[in-house]
């Protein structure tokens, strides 16, 4: 049987029986989603790759605890979410202590400087969106990213995050309102700047 046709549960059973190589099927299935989620959360592509690797190792270690009647996608995104949050909190502490020691005064709080080269084609509007996504409160950002970029339903988000559906609805609604307000405002500002430059 073609490996790609196997269900997640069948692959997991196979891995648990000792066929470790079958785990690669799961990596192929979920790596882009996981990296997408982590990149949106951290806004650092290199770190996202590194965290995603740790996530998959953690998934492998925790496979015996996975209950087959549950959604595997929720299982792995729960791990991804927790590890990303851990990383973000560690970053906060690192920046705090480095600031305390007077080493890095100019660094943007809670974010490492991106190590990858900035894409020259990335429009200013995209930059605005990324910046505003990053400025959202943690819970709102998680809910919004899971909904918009990973297209999870509210029920699936509930499984991942453990929040109630009304809470998820509120978080996403507030995140959208906030983004809408901020992005419109910044669009206007950038429009003024552009007009001034043209003049």
């Amino acid at each position: 049987m073609d490996n790609e046709l196997l269900s997640d549960d069948e692959v997991i059973t196979s891995v648990l029986k000792g066929r470790t190589l079958d785990f690669e099927i799961l990596i192929h299935r979920y790596s882009s989603k996981i990296i997408n989620f982590i990149t949106r959360m951290t806004d650092d592509r290199d770190e996202a790759q590194s965290i995603a690797q740790d996530v998959f190792l953690k998934i492998y270690q925790n496979l015996p605890y996975y209950k087959k009647q549950n959604n595997f996608s929720a299982f792995i995104f729960k791990i991804a979410k927790n590890m990303t949050l851990n990383w973000l909190h560690r970053q906060k502490r690192t920046v705090f202590f480095s600031r305390l020691l007077g080493q890095e005064f100019n660094q943007v709080p809670f974010r490492q400087a991106p190590t990858h080269a900035i894409d020259p084609e990335k429009s200013e509007r995209d930059e605005i969106i990324i910046r505003n996504l990053r400025s959202l409160p943690e819970e709102q950002r998680i809910a919004l990213i899971l909904k918009i970029y990973l297209e999870f339903s509210y029920k699936q988000i509930r499984e991942i995050s453990g929040w109630s559906i009304p809470k998820i609805e509120t978080l996403i609604s507030r995140a959208k309102s906030r983004l809408k307000k901020n992005i419109n405002l910044q669009d206007k500002n950038s429009g003024f700047v552009l007009k001034a430059r043209i003049k």
Binding site: I27, S32, Y149
Partner: protein
Amino acid sequence: MNCENVCLRLSAYQDKELSLLQSQDLERHLESCAACQVELKALNELLSRLGRLATPAPAPDFSSRIMAGLLTRPEKKYRLLPSLVPYSKFSTIFKKKICYLRDLYCEAMLAYTLACLMIFISGFLLEISLNVQPAIVPQPTTTFSAVLAESRDLGLLAVQDSTMELFSNLKQISLVKKQDNLLSKLLIPPLQGTSLRSRVSGDDYEK
């Protein structure tokens, strides 16, 4: 449905998370309300802008690096808790707990805790052994009459203090009770307001 309620639920409507009935109510309102239509349009525009961001792709060697990491992971050679788990026999929660215990860090913590416990118990035992009181050597009891004789030589105050020390024994106290009147009247005349009666305190005396 008023505009305020609609605005609260527009996001869920856009995400197609409302029930059929709720969606129909909302659509009915939208048909008649221009402000809410503008709001929905703005939300749709935002969504399209958010969706325009490029999707990051995994590195080409992403899966091979993970698989290499998995296949070259060293086996744990030493375990404080040996393989005591026939997993299938236990419930999932218990299985999980046992598996946590098997984790190396937990083993280290367990060893540390045991060491602390041992130190605490040994310290406790040592303290107990140091605090054991030596066997009480029975002292020759002084009879009441002997005290009296002695007290007469030493004076009233000396008699009262020494007798009070001896009177810790109940029998001796009762002896004092019985003979108190006689003592105070005949043998020990009260001096400066102190008497044997006043020094023997407690309810027992009254009985």
